[in-house]
Amino acid sequence: MNRIAFITLTLATLLMAGTLAGCIADSRDSVSVEDHWGRPGFEGDNAAAYMEIRNDGDDDVALIGASSDIAETIEIHQTRMESPEDQNSHDDDADDSEHGQDSHGHGMMIMEEVQSIVASAGSSVLLEPGGYHVMFMGLTRDLEPGDTFSLTLHFEEIDDQTIEITVEER
């Protein structure tokens, strides 16, 4: 038996497999999550996490959910100004005519669940206050500034990514 040749070829095979895995992982690693942080909150209350999802790859990537033991329910939400079309359905709302304000002062901010947030190829998408956020409903413990917790992000096209969120007052 040619032991050295066998070992050498085994090593080469392992290296090749490792390299291939590395290359595949590399295309997945082209999605990075940066500048992530979470808001403080009390047990039972709601909170949110923010981040930048950067996609240096060649294909769009969609964030479709997140999980953590920090909250009973976790969804992807968007805060947005309700559009005039939406507002027409609120006939029971307060009469706005009294002070003669225009729509700039009266926009109703609503939070709604979104199915996905897409980071386009070669681009990045921002989850920031007043816009997209990962929404935690029913915190399982207090979140004080400086606390950390794990958050696993689920993407449609690539593997999960788990990040460590630090709670901050921003």
């Binding site: 080469a12 090749m16 403080p40 309700e82 002070h99 003669g100 926009g107 901010m109 939070m111």
Partner: protein
């Protein structure tokens, strides 16, 4: 046993290993792409008002609610200062803390002049926002507005008086979120409805407009 054969087979394998090593290097180099820093807007804005100035000098509708320490709070008792008033709820994790941060920032920017201003957070969620809940929410380092709550009927009248739309959105799990108007009202020291800041206004905008009113702009 046969060294010649071993060497003959080992040599090409080594070349493969070296080649693969180069490949690994080539692959991993794409990790080094650094994101470009997001440019920060530094444009200077003027000193004039940034929110919407209301010209009709209507008196701010008065109300009596309960503050986050459980004490009665009558709005008209606090005229003489500029009042900045926002409507939200403590289970709102996004726009409400953001606006409270803006209020805290405005207080910092105002410095000593902050004593001439009062920052109020009126709940749109009387069911969950008890004085105790509001108090612990406001007790956070950067939430230093006065939280106000009350019975639902009294609050509904306040919302109507200040054109605050409140839309309870029930969820399947039995909880609810609340859509609500997110403008900040500014009341001048004489108790007039002076300005409205849109939700897009930041802490600097708020500080600017509060200071503008403190300095007697509306005279």
């Amino acid at each position: 046993m046969n060294l010649t054969t071993q060497n003959a087979r080992g040599f090409p394998a080594l070349i493969v290993i070296i080649a693969l090593g180069l490949l690994v290097t080539a692959c991993s180099s794409s990790d080094e792409i650094e994101p470009e820093p997001t440019p920060v807007a530094t444009a200077e804005k003027g000193d004039g008002p940034r929110g919407m100035v209301l010209g009709d000098s209507a008196q701010a509708p008065d109300f009596e609610l309960i503050d986050d320490e459980g004490n009665p709070f009558r709005l008209s008792d606090h005229h003489g200062r500029v009042i900045a008033m926002f409507f939200g709820y403590t289970f709102c994790p996004d726009i409400c803390p953001l606006t409270l941060m803006h209020m805290s920032h405005a207080k910092e920017v105002l410095g000593d002049q902050a004593d001439d201003a009062l920052f109020l957070f009126v709940t749109v969620d009387p069911e969950r926002d008890t004085p105790e809940q509001l108090h612990r929410y406001m007790a956070r380092a950067d939430h230093n507005a006065i939280g106000l709550t009350g019975d639902p009927d009294t609050l509904a009248q306040v919302w109507e008086d200040y054109s605050i739309a409140v839309d309870v959105e029930p969820r399947d799990d039995g909880s609810y979120l609340i859509g609500h108007s997110a403008q900040v009202w500014l009341i001048d020291p004489d108790g007039h409805l002076a300005m409205i800041l849109p939700p897009s206004a930041d802490g600097d905008d708020l500080a600017n407009d509060v200071r503008w009113l403190i300095n007697g702009s509306s005279s």
